[in-house]
């Protein structure tokens, strides 16, 4: 026997990597068809997707609800910004090092939170993670010499590398980098969820005692899942910092943190494709609403600015939950099943069996 065999139904790693590479190429090619603003929006979607993909795996697979993923994004963003400013060189090597630092910082914070989270559940865990986001501005103020309080940390402008400057604009370059980084995160999470660890997470979610009796270390699984999810959020924060060239506590409010949860629920809990759909929604919806209200009188537009988006998100959440309880991805899957010709289910009505240990003849 050599090594550990793949689980039945588990997609081969090579196939996962090829599918991921295919989608990445499509997204990169797509950046050439988009104008600078759309590329900026694509970069935002990519950054949010890192956080929502991590969150959907955490909530959907282990049942741990985190309302504080915005804070973990902020940790990644601060880690990225502080490392970028500390490095004596720039360019792609500095970006990679700063990204790793941001991921490490968010993973460490996630590990500490995860250790507490493994002992909590439901509203207690939600409260703990919410408290972290609420505390973020206070943390930035307390260590204002390093984190610069409400102003946040700026990073030096990093333009398009010389070799590509003639071919791509700044926004496109940022979108391409965001897509590549996000592809790595999403692929890692897909592999993590698809293998033995994924099955362990689902088992812990469904029945923790039964999982422990089956030899699954429930506490360790929950801590690792929280850490992985935090690291993914940290990558999102780092990418957002790379795009905005700054990180500040004002960008990671409680409202934004809840919006990440809304994105995951609207997209479909536990689905990475759903997380992508949810990320698109939270980027495009405020922009669409802004376009609609821009034609209103200035006074009305000013009153609705920001508020209407929150109202629409609330209505959208209620509507999606009423019409498609499994989110947008769940609705797509259900629709595909309806349109696929019925295949007789061999197990639809099993013959009555009253033997637990069948004889050779019965088999």
């Amino acid at each position: 026997m050599t090594g550990r065999q793949r689980l039945p139904g588990q997609r081969p790693l090579l196939r996962t990597l090829l599918v991921a590479a295919g989608w990445t190429v499509v997204a990169l090619a797509g950046t050439f068809a988009l104008d600078p603003f759309r590329n900026y929006q694509l970069a935002l979607v990519a950054a949010y997707l890192c956080a929502t993909a991590g969150l959907t795996v955490l909530v959907g697979a282990t049942g741990q609800l985190s309302l504080g993923h915005a804070a973990l994004m902020a940790v990644g963003g601060y880690g990225f910004a502080l490392t970028t400013n500390a490095l004596p060189f720039g360019g792609i090597p500095a970006f990679v090092l700063a990204l790793l630092a941001g991921v490490l910082a968010s993973a460490v914070v996630g590990l500490l939170l995860g250790l507490a989270a493994a002992r909590l559940s439901g509203p207690y865990l939600a409260g703990l993670t919410l408290a972290v986001v609420v505390a973020l501005p206070a943390v930035a103020s307390t260590w204002s010499t390093v984190l610069h309080g409400d102003q946040g940390v700026q990073i030096p402008f990093e333009g398009v590398p010389d070799g590509l400057r003639r071919v791509v604009a700044l926004e496109q370059w940022q979108a391409m980098v965001a897509v590549l980084v996000t592809a790595a995160v999403v692929t890692s999470l897909t592999v993590l969820r698809g293998g033995r660890f994924g099955l362990r997470m689902l088992a812990v979610r469904d029945d923790e005692v039964a999982a422990r009796l089956s030899g699954i270390p429930a506490g360790r699984v929950k801590v690792l899942a929280f850490t992985a999810s935090s690291a993914a959020a940290g990558v999102g924060g780092a990418v957002l910092c790379f795009v905005a060239q700054a990180v500040s506590p004002g960008a990671y409010t409680v409202g934004f943190s809840l919006l990440l949860v809304v994105a995951v629920v609207i997209g479909g809990l536990g689905s990475i494709l759903g997380a992508a759909l949810g990320s698109v929604v939270i980027v495009l919806l405020p922009w669409l609403i802004g376009r609609l209200t821009s034609n209103l009188p200035a006074d009305a537009a000013q009153r609705l600015d920001g508020n209407l988006a929150v109202l629409v998100f609330g209505l959208l959440l209620i509507t999606v939950m009423a019409v498609a309880p499994h989110g947008l991805h769940g609705a797509l899957v259900a629709r595909r099943r309806r349109t696929t010709p019925d295949v007789p289910r061999p197990t639809a009505e099993p013959a009555p069996r009253k033997v637990l240990v069948p004889t050779e003849e019965q088999r």
């Binding site: 026997m1 090594g3 550990r4 065999q5 793949r6 689980l7 039945p8 139904g9 033995r196 099955l199 362990r200 689902l202 088992a203 979610r205 469904d206 029945d207 005692v209 039964a210 999982a211 422990r212 009796l213 089956s214 030899g215 699954i216 270390p217 429930a218 061999p346 197990t347 099993p350 069996r353 009253k354 033997v355 637990l356 240990v357 069948p358 019965q362 088999r363």
Partner: protein, 247 residues
């Protein structure tokens, strides 16, 4: 049925519980309980509600911490850690179904064998053995209750345990399924596995078990063969709540 005809193999105690006491605050759930189960033996643990049967299972599995006593499996002390039971060859089913509702039948069985190098083959073998292969890729919640009970058993058996703890395996089953369950328990014991089961279905216990231990208010009040226990006045008193005079 060949499984029933197979002579029971007995040997050294595989599970040995000595002087086990468990307290929940001021309540004594188990008080100085001792019992053993030998390889190839089926021992039934019966008693009225609240007698401490499931608490004993929980203590063996490390889900509750005893205040006194020892628990040994295969002559070695059992660490109070449920996640290490599987590695020590101990498997348990839960009083309810204890299934992973979001998983398929196959995944539920796989979950009991994830530490192995090739859990897929082991799970398939177990699914075939319990005639569950046709349902393997269905969500476990879609199956009828007796089939779900089989999945719970399959998950316990997939790791080929040397000690099997069954917590109310006959609960919710009809007469035919109970008879089939009896076959399975005897078949499992015939492979050398020690089986300890908690059950309220007295007829099932009496027909399947080699020995029966009766608990009441956390203490062992009787033990012996099914016939010996059935004729014990203390058992009647515990179940009926009246003093029975032996004739």
């Amino acid at each position: 049925m060949s499984a029933q005809m197979t002579p029971v193999r007995t040997g050294d105690p595989h599970l040995a519980v000595h002087g086990l006491s468990v307290r929940f605050g001021g309540l004594s759930a188990l008080d100085d309980v001792s019992l053993d189960v030998r390889e190839g033996e089926v021992v039934g643990l019966i008693g009225p509600n609240g007698a401490g049967k499931t608490t004993l299972f929980n203590a063996v599995c490390g889900l509750v911490r005893p205040s006194a006593g020892t628990i040994a499996v295969g002559g070695e002390p059992l660490p109070p850690d449920p996640t290490r039971l599987s590695a020590r060859g101990v498997a348990r089913t839960l009083q309810g179904l204890g299934l992973f509702r979001g998983l398929t039948v196959r995944e539920n069985v796989l979950a009991g064998r994830l530490g192995a190098a090739d859990p897929g083959t082991d799970a398939q073998r177990q699914l075939d053995a319990l005639d569950l292969a046709a349902h393997a890729d269905r969500p476990v919640g879609d199956l009828p209750y007796p089939e779900q009970k089989k999945v719970a058993l399959a998950r316990a058996l997939v790791a080929q345990p040397r000690l099997l703890l069954l917590d109310e395996p006959a609960g919710g089953l009809g007469p035919d399924d109970i008879a089939a369950l009896g076959d399975l328990v005897r078949h499992t014991a015939a492979t050398g596995c020690a089986v300890l089961l908690v059950e309220h279905h007295v007829d099932f216990v009496m027909s399947v078990c080699d020995r029966v231990v009766v608990l009441d208010f956390g203490r062992v009040i009787a033990s012996g063969t099914p016939d010996e226990v059935a004729g014990d006045p203390a058992v009647d008193e515990a179940y009926l709540g009246i003093e029975v005079t032996a004739s």
